[in-house]
Symmetry: C2
Subunit: 346 residues, 2 copies
C-alpha cells in the first residue's frame, strides 16, 4: 500500500522540502536513503526513537531532538517546554526515566535577550517538573536572516529498568492498543494561534512529560511490548511505523479514539484528520492482552492518563497495514502520511 | 583585569549579537546571567565542557555541540567532520573515549539533497575514524530564509576511566602546560577560504578526533589535572578559563607556542592574534611536573601530538590571570576575548 502514496524517489527531488521534516514517508526516505547508509551501524536502524545501549554495565536510553516550533510561545507551552518534554518522552518510550539533558541553542542575531531568558526559564521549569537535570549546554549565534529567533536541541540519557524491552518487534496479534488520552490537541493549538483562528474555545497544547505515566504502567508489568509518543505525523504515523516494523496488522475503532470536540471542529475547518495531527503529551501503548485491563486502570489513575482508552488491537491480517473501522461499520486504510501536514509544530 | 574588558551588562544590551556565540566574555555572561539561573543544578556550573555523571553505576561523560560553520566544506574538513570531532573532543577532555553520538539536523528548505548526503557521508566517515557510533538522530526542516543550508547538533556519551578526574580545580602551581601541536590553524583555514584570501600555501584545518591521543596520555598516568580543546576563543580563552577556575596564575612563553609560518603570516594580514584563533584538533594539558616529561614523550609518539610542546607553567602569582613572556623578555597580559573574533568557525 505504501508504495502508492510515495512521492517520486529522492533522485528526482534534488532539494529538501518541508515534507522531509514531517515525520512521514518523506522523512523516512531521507533517513533510509541518505542518513542510514552514511552513518551505518546496527542501532541506527531504530532512528525514529531513542536508542537502547549498554555502557559501563548500565542499560541506557539515549535520544536527541531539535525544536524549531513557531510561534515560540503558544497556548499551553513554549519551545522551552517542548525541548524538555520531547526528549524526556522519547526516553520514556524506551521505558527509561530521563536523568540528564543536554541543551544546545542556535540563536539568531537580534533576538531579544529577554526572549532567550523566558525560553530558558520555561525550559528550566519543565526540566524540574519532569525531574531531569540539564547538565551540559552550548550556544551558537548565527547572523540575522539565517535562523528564526531560537532553535533548541536537547539530547537526553536515562536508565532502562531491568526486564523492560520495548520494541515494535515484540508486538504480536492479540495485543491491545491503548492511547493515554485525547489526540490532536498540540497540533491544533499551534495552528490556531499561528493562523489567528478562533474556535470558540482556546485550545491549549497537551505538552507534558510522560516519564511518570510510563513508570506507573511499568509498575503493573515490565512486559509492555511497545510505547510511542505520536508527535509529527500523529497517531497514524506511529501506528503505521509499528505495523510495518512488527509485520502485524492493526485495527483501530475510529469511534474509540478520543478527539475533543473543539479539536474535531478545528480539524473540520482546517481540513485536517486528527489521526495525523501531532501530540506532545500523549502515548500509544501495545499491551499483552492479559495485562491490558490492569495497565489501563493504572493509566487512568495517573493525571496524564485520566482519559486513557482502548482504541484497537493487533491482528494477523493485512500485515504492515493500519485499518480503521468507521462509525458506520465500514473500514478504511490509515496510510502513513507522505509529507508535512503542519510544518514546524515541534 | 577582566572587568576592564567587559562589555556593558546584559541589561544594556537587550539583543543577541554575534559576540554572544564567540566563546569569550560575552558567551560566559550569557551562560552565567541567563542560562545557569534558569536551569540551576550543580553540574551545569561546568557548562563549557562535557559533564561528568554517574548513571547506573557507570561514570559517564556527556556533551553537546551545535555546528553552524560557514562554508560547510573547507580545506581539511567539513561541517560533518567538525560535528563528530567537536563532540568527541569535548568528551576526550573529560578523559572519556566517545562511545555513542546523537545527530540532529536542521535543514533549510531548498538545500540540495546531494549536499545533505555529502555532509552525512563526511560525518559517518569521521565517526568511523574516531571509533564512535551514531545511534540516534532527528531531522527538522525550516523554511528557506530561516536557516543556512545545514545546521547539526551532536551529543555524545562515553565512559570515564577509573581514577581519571580532570577538573580546573585540580590545577596547582608547578603544573606544566603542554599543547599538542601548532595553534591557530582551523580558524585561519576557515577565514582564508571564506574571504577568498591566498597566503601562498593552502592552510588546511587541523580538525581531528583526539580520543586516541588522550588515551595515550592517560596510559602514562591517570593523574593529569586538566585537558582542554581550545576551540572558540582559541588558546587564550582556554588558559583564561582554567586560570579563573583554578585560582592560579599561568605563564606562557610566547616563543614556545607553535604557530606555523603560514598561519602567522595570515594572522598578520588579517589582524588576528593566533592565541585567539580557534583550533579543532589540538589540546592543552595541565600536567603534574613529575609526569610532564613522560606525558610529552607519549604525545610526541602519537600522530596527533608529534609537534607537542611545553609552552608554560602554573604559578602562585597573578592568580586568575594569564601572562605571556614575550620574545624580548617583556610580559603582557593575555586577556579573555570579549566577543567574536571569527564568527561561525564551528
Amino acid at each position: 500500500m505504501l508504495s502508492w502514496t510515495c512521492p517520486a524517489p529522492l533522485s528526482d527531488q534534488p532539494r529538501i522540502v518541508m515534507g522531509h521534516g514531517g515525520g512521514g514517508v518523506m522523512s523516512a526516505e531521507l533517513v533510509e536513503q541518505v542518513f542510514a547508509p552514511a552513518f551505518g551501524g546496527p542501532v541506527l536502524s531504530a532512528l525514529t526513537d531513542s536508542a537502547a545501549l549498554e555502557l559501563g554495565g548500565a542499560q541506557l536510553a539515549f535520544s536527541t531532538d531539535s525544536f524549531v516550533v513557531r510561534p515560540m510561545f503558544f497556548p499551553g507551552g513554549s519551545i522551552g517546554d517542548l525541548a524538555v518534554n520531547g526528549t524526556v518522552n522519547d526516553l520514556a518510550m524506551s521505558g527509561a526515566r530521563a536523568a540528564y539533558l543536554s541543551c544546545g541553542f542556535i540563536l539568531e542575531e537580534g533576538v531579544g535577550i529577554d526572549v532567550v531568558g523566558r525560553v530558558a526559564e520555561a525550559l528550566g521549569a519543565a526540566a524540574r517538573t519532569a525531574g531531569v537535570e540539564v547538565v551540559t549546554g552550548d550556544t551558537k549565534v548565527v547572523e540575522a536572516g539565517h535562523g528564526d529567533g531560537i532553535y533548541i536541541n536537547t539530547s537526553g540519557i536515562g536508565l532502562i529498568p531491568p526486564g523492560v524491552d520495548l520494541r515494535p518487534q515484540r508486538v504480536v496479534p492479540g495485543d491491545v492498543v491503548i492511547v493515554s488520552g485525547a489526540i490532536g490537541v498540540h497540533g491544533v493549538a499551534i495552528m490556531s494561534v499561528r493562523e489567528g483562528l478562533e474556535f470558540g474555545v482556546e485550545i491549549e497544547s497537551d505538552c507534558a512529560a510522560l516519564g511518570g505515566l510510563v513508570e506507573a504502567m511499568l509498575a503493573v508489568t515490565p512486559d509492555l511490548h511497545v510505547l510511542r509518543d505520536p508527535t509529527r505525523g500523529g497517531l497514524a504515523a506511529s501506528l503505521n511505523e509499528i505495523a510495518a516494523a512488527s509485520g502485524t496488522g492493526i485495527v483501530v475503532r475510529e469511534r474509540a479514539v478520543p478527539v475533543p470536540q473543539p479539536v474535531a471542529n478545528a480539524c473540520a475547518v482546517l481540513g485536517l484528520d486528527p489521526m495525523y495531527v501531532a501530540n506532545e503529551g500523549k502515548l500509544v501503548a501495545f499491551v499483552p492482552r492479559q495485562h491490558a485491563e490492569e495497565v489501563l486502570a493504572a493509566m487512568r489513575a495517573h493525571p496524564l492518563g485520566a482519559e486513557a482508552a482502548v482504541i484497537g488491537e493487533v491482528v494477523d491480517e493485512h500485515r504492515g497495514m493500519v485499518v480503521a473501522r468507521t462509525g458506520l461499520g465500514g473500514t478504511r486504510v490509515v496510510d502513513l502520511p507522505v509529507g508535512e501536514q503542519l510544518p514546524r509544530i515541534c
